[in-house]
């Protein structure tokens, strides 16, 4: 890709949107994307450690993990999965809108994405507080009598709780990523409201969407492991 070719293209655009403050050369655009992919690689390894811990404890306490997993509602988890998949879909459409220089659509699609993220966190809050009210904390020494399952055996409770320790860790870290992603996409949305993006400059939309897709990707694996297989 020669830079002179790109530079020549930047001049002959009579109907360009009025508020272009910035243009990315293909090199800058590719470099920014590659940087985000490198960051996503570290994210995969961050969650990878927890996945390995889960695999190990799952092997050690196979039966208990299966029983503990049944305490989670797979239909609610499935609903939340669909919410997150839809938010990923709208994030991809926001990039598409930016590629077509349609800032209004970028704002609209990112707003839908952020609303989906709020729904996801809301559902997660009710799941967490529901589990906590049944005494299913990470590492508690007491399981409430009101819980749907009363495992009074000390030894059993210990392994049962190791599932919830990992459950809170993995979904908690994932929720932090959801919150951070909402902030990132909100910032991109503010830029789109000021008509900052065009088919020649939409790097923040694409990089922000890449981060959001990773949040979705991790949930794609968390959901079956925690809710379905146990």
């Amino acid at each position: 890709m020669s830079s002179s070719h790109a530079a020549a293209e930047l001049h002959d655009e009579p109907g360009a949107p009025p508020h272009i403050h910035h243009m990315d050369t293909p090199t800058a655009y590719q470099a920014a994307k590659l940087g985000m992919w490198l960051f996503l690689a570290t994210e995969v390894l961050l969650f990878g450690g927890l996945f390995a811990a889960f695999a190990m404890y799952h092997w050690m306490y196979n039966h208990e993990f299966h029983e503990a997993s049944r305490q989670l509602n797979k239909w609610i988890g499935g609903f939340n999965t669909l919410v997150l998949l839809f938010s990923s879909f709208t994030a991809a459409l926001a990039v598409d809108a930016a590629q077509h220089s349609d800032n209004k659509k970028v704002v609209r699609y990112l707003a839908i994405t952020i609303v989906c993220a709020l729904i996801f966190l809301g559902v997660k809050y009710f799941e967490w507080s529901g589990k906590a009210s049944h005494g299913l904390f990470p590492g508690t020494s007491h399981v409430s009598e009101h819980g749907t399952v009363k495992f009074n055996d000390e030894n059993f409770n210990k392994e049962y709780r190791s599932f919830f320790g990992l459950y809170y860790c993995m979904t908690g870290l994932h929720a932090l990523h959801v919150i951070f992603g909402m902030g990132l996409l909100g910032w991109v949305m503010m830029k789109a409201r000021k008509n900052r993006f065009s088919s020649r400059y939409y790097t923040p939309v694409e990089v922000g969407a890449l981060y959001w897709h990773l949040v979705d990707l991790i949930w794609i694996y968390l959901f079956p492991l925690l809710y379905l297989v146990g």
Partner: protein, 142 residues
């Protein structure tokens, strides 16, 4: 580095990245929805009662197809340069090493419920009954 690919362009001479038709995003999304419903329904069938390994393999296979679709189309990985592919696959390979190491290590690990490694795996419930007295004694001590 090149941003020109074999796939046809869609009338955007000055485009930076690859523009994908809306129909592809839509089809990918509905495929993801169907796969999510399938994986929940398979779990509801409780095949894990007959074979926990089969249930795990089916759930992970469906998850991997979903992850492949999201990465390929939503994240545009299908149209990215080779170096981006390498960035995406390196952590997955490292994660594979970590998981493979964990699985190879597990059967030989001395754990509270597996005091006899590389031999019969004692389930925790059996262990609980075997050592119930021990625990009662240790807790009375506190």
């Amino acid at each position: 580095m090149s941003h020109h690919h074999d796939a046809p362009h869609h009338g955007h001479d000055h485009e930076l990245g690859h523009v994908i038709p809306y129909a592809i995003y839509r089809n990918v999304f509905w495929t993801l929805v169907v796969l999510t419903i399938v994986t929940v329904l398979v779990a509801a069938m409780e095949i894990s009662k007959y074979s926990a390994a089969l249930a795990l393999v089916v759930a992970m296979a469906i998850a991997s197809v979903k992850a492949f679709l999201v990465a390929s189309y939503f994240m545009h990985l299908k149209f990215e340069s080779k170096i981006t592919w390498m960035y995406a696959f390196f952590p997955i390979m490292l994660l594979g090493l970590l998981l493979a190491g964990t699985f190879i290590d597990n059967p030989y690990r001395v754990s509270p419920i597996n005091p006899d490694p590389a031999h019969k795996q004692i389930t925790a419930s059996e262990h609980a009954t075997e050592h119930a007295e021990e625990h009662a004694v240790s807790h009375a001590g506190h």
